[in-house]
Subunit: 297 residues, 2 copies
């Protein structure tokens, strides 16, 4: 299989499993499942769970065993977007070309749908650990890595810095990198680490993959900031210039366009280099990193 075939087959696996986890209930819970499904199936790239599967495979594991953990990360990522878009947070009306969750289901339901996705992620991982399908010790380690990456020392910690900083509040690059390494990088790195843990990675393999994840995560975020300035509104599915309208500091406002592009190149190269220990087996993740840097949406 070439890259795009393998990518597509992994995305198909992930979508089918997410669909299974979020079967719409025909009872009092109908509405909350609709709200959860709306954002889960709103066109996400499935970057994180794809990385989970790839990392499990690269260390010699059966990637299907890592699928529940990848889906859990995707749910955590999606809950964070729903809550971020709320009027009291970033107040965004559109995401990926579609109205945001609270525009469709109302703010109360959007808060609950976010809560429900975060909770469901841990429900899925705990059920998987109980099931005995994969090694129970690996399962709880993967769960812990994901929980730490999404919590106060990870994603939420980054989000707090973002919220607390206010308009153009982040004016040094160190704080900006800290914010994004936590807000975005931590969960991307955890999605890879979790897959590697389920696949039975050794210490060194785990470190290399985590480093890859952090660098790709940061490059991904700088690219996001660039697209907000240079991107095509149609392709992005959201207005360009929203960072400027929201008076947000970004990598681009701090470093300028050229230096931002250069930093993306450096980070991508570092990410690719860290996969050296896997030799030829690194090809899929390397290609994925290159696609992320080259994307136009």
């Amino acid at each position: 299989m070439d890259f795009s075939q393998l990518l597509k087959s992994r995305i198909d696996l992930i979508n089918a499993k997410l669909d299974e986890y979020l079967v719409e209930h025909d009872n009092y819970q109908k509405k909350i499942y609709q709200a959860m499904r709306y954002s889960i199936f709103a066109g996400g790239k499935r970057l994180r769970p794809v990385m989970t599967l790839a990392a499990c495979d690269i260390v010699g594991g059966d990637e299907r065993l890592s699928l529940p953990f990848g889906c859990a990360v995707e749910m955590i990522h999606t809950y964070s977007l729903i809550h971020d878009d709320l009027p009291v947070m970033d107040n965004d009306d559109y995401r990926r070309g579609k109205p945001t969750n609270h525009k469709v289901f109302g703010q109360a339901m959007a808060v609950l749908a976010g809560d429900a996705l975060l909770n469901k992620a841990f429900e899925i991982m705990a059920a998987e650990a109980v099931s005995g399908r994969c090694d129970i010790k690996r399962a709880v380690k993967a769960m812990l890595v994901i929980a730490e990456a999404s919590g106060t020392e990870g994603m939420i910690g980054g989000q707090v810095v973002d919220i607390e900083s206010g308009n153009y509040g982040i004016n040094d690059l160190h704080k900006m990198e800290y914010m994004h390494l936590h807000k975005t990088g931590a969960l991307i790195a955890a999605s890879i680490e979790a897959g590697a843990i389920i696949g039975g990675a050794g210490e060194k393999e785990l470190e290399s993959l985590a480093l890859f994840g952090r660098n790709v995560g940061l490059a991904f975020q700088i690219k996001d900031d660039l697209l907000d300035v240079e991107g095509d509104q149609q392709l992005l599915g959201k207005p360009v210039g929203s960072d400027e309208n929201n008076k947000k500091s970004t990598f681009v406002t701090l470093m300028g366009i050229e230096k931002s592009k250069q930093r993306i190149e450096e980070l991508t190269q570092e990410a690719i280099d860290s996969l050296g220990i896997f030799h030829d087996k690194g090809w899929f993740l390397i290609q994925l990193a290159r696609e992320l840097v080259g994307r136009n949406k």
Copy 2:
């Protein structure tokens, strides 16, 4: 030790452990930990973790092993209160006599503090499972029971019915019981089940304790509705009559005061009866159930 001594020593254990889990960080995360601590230490009765410890003990386990799971349940309970109080949900300004989280920290931080407490609960449980301090299989089972009870098939499911029903929208007792059994009862039952699982309970012991939890949880909620009509504002720390002001149906609006009191008695008796298999060892939970029914705040 008599009841109040044992209750106090358990509450002290729980508070010390919660304090340890939420040590205030002197860095970018300072504010979120302040917000989390504010609601965790806002005078909660610690009913749920006390039940976790008692259930672990009643089946012959070392109750200190169940402490992390009790603390996790308390964090989940607290996050649900923070989100419930938000303007887009119940819009409450006071809880237990103190301004609600969003009145002190702002709505964005309150959303994040709730998210962070839910996440932290699973972080703590996953770390406990990894640690090897208690049996890993019991740890993941306890985690699953708690996750299911707090999710769409539990607490969030009940909350959805509450939100969806709107003003005086719940007009049959069946739906009201469904709502409260999920919104309140499920997590109370899970706090007991989790303790029993960590303590190594057998199937029958687990069933009896879960039944006790569900009945106590429902009695607790009807008592809450009664206090909103008959209670003393000073003792409650929130305005009485808030259900009426919020145009909410309650057990009392549906059944009247006398029948509500009668139902509380029945449920408490059923709860107590279900502990029969534990003989004398049931005394603490029985006394706790009686205190909950007799409380005036």
